[in-house]
Symmetry: C2
Subunit: 128 residues, 2 copies
DNA sequence: GAACATTACATGCAGACGCATCTAATGCAA
DNA sequence: TTGCATTAGATGCGTCTGCATGTAATGTTC
């Protein structure tokens, strides 16, 4: 097991994560009023195309349950998603993307893709 | 330019970063009383083996200048580094690792390596 | 069905971050 | 030297996060 490879990979992950996260925060925030977490949740909703439980989102986004709960609260306040009680398990909460949410996501998607393309194209390999 | 490759790479970075960061926070924190940022600064100090300006550290750690200033303040409070005024430019601050800092770093290094090895060995390739 | 454990989500709280700003030192131009 | 722009680092402030906990609904055991 090559320890140097592991350390190099970790440095790569740290560098790319910092650069992309920072750019996403700036671009998505300034141009669309979304944070990276908000965008990610909208993105998952769009891809699944149906109501999702908070818990299901938790599995896909790298956030704690409490953080996700607040992201959804922010999105709801911005009318981008709506929360509804789950019928079969009244502890549960369904999250449902709104038309406005879909529109905002569609608007922000090219921005996100552009940022990622820029970050990951300039030095595509691990051996940068 | 393969957009799917970029998105997949981004997902990989997000997943590995979240997993490693979370584990580092837990292991370094519980076992050595260090956060990931604190460890990273100590690590850089050890590698350079000399006094460093705050600004020099800023180039290597992915933190804002203000965040780094506070990390150094925490490290100083824990007696792991010392701050000294720079003679040639009295605006500058030299950061100098202490013997206790070196010891703590040496103690924590195997922990960090073990965490990274576990995170990056179970699914080493991008195409996971 | 009563008592207790567990689960889903919300929330109080403290910690860490980035941005904007402040202070102090330096550089540079007139 | 004086005056102004710049730079290094510290700090106030707001935001986001995770942990611990709270509340309510569900499951389980007797």
């Amino acid at each position: 097991m090559d320890e140097q490879f592991v350390v190099d990979t970790w440095r790569y992950v740290l560098a790319k994560h910092a650069k992309a996260m920072c750019a996403l925060e700036r671009e998505l925030g300034d141009r669309h009023g979304l944070g990276p977490s908000e965008f990610e949740v909208l993105d998952r909703m769009v891809h699944h195309g149906r109501k999702l439980r908070i818990q299901e989102l938790c599995d896909e986004v790298h956030l704690s349950q409490s953080a996700l709960s607040r992201v959804v609260a922010r999105l709801e306040k911005a009318s981008l998603v709506s929360r509804g009680v789950c019928d079969v398990d009244r502890r549960g909460v369904f999250v449902c993307i709104t038309d406005e949410g879909r529109a905002r996501h569609a608007e922000a998607l090219p921005t996100q893709r552009a940022v990622l393309a820029e970050v990951f194209t300039e030095a595509p390999a691990l051996t940068s």
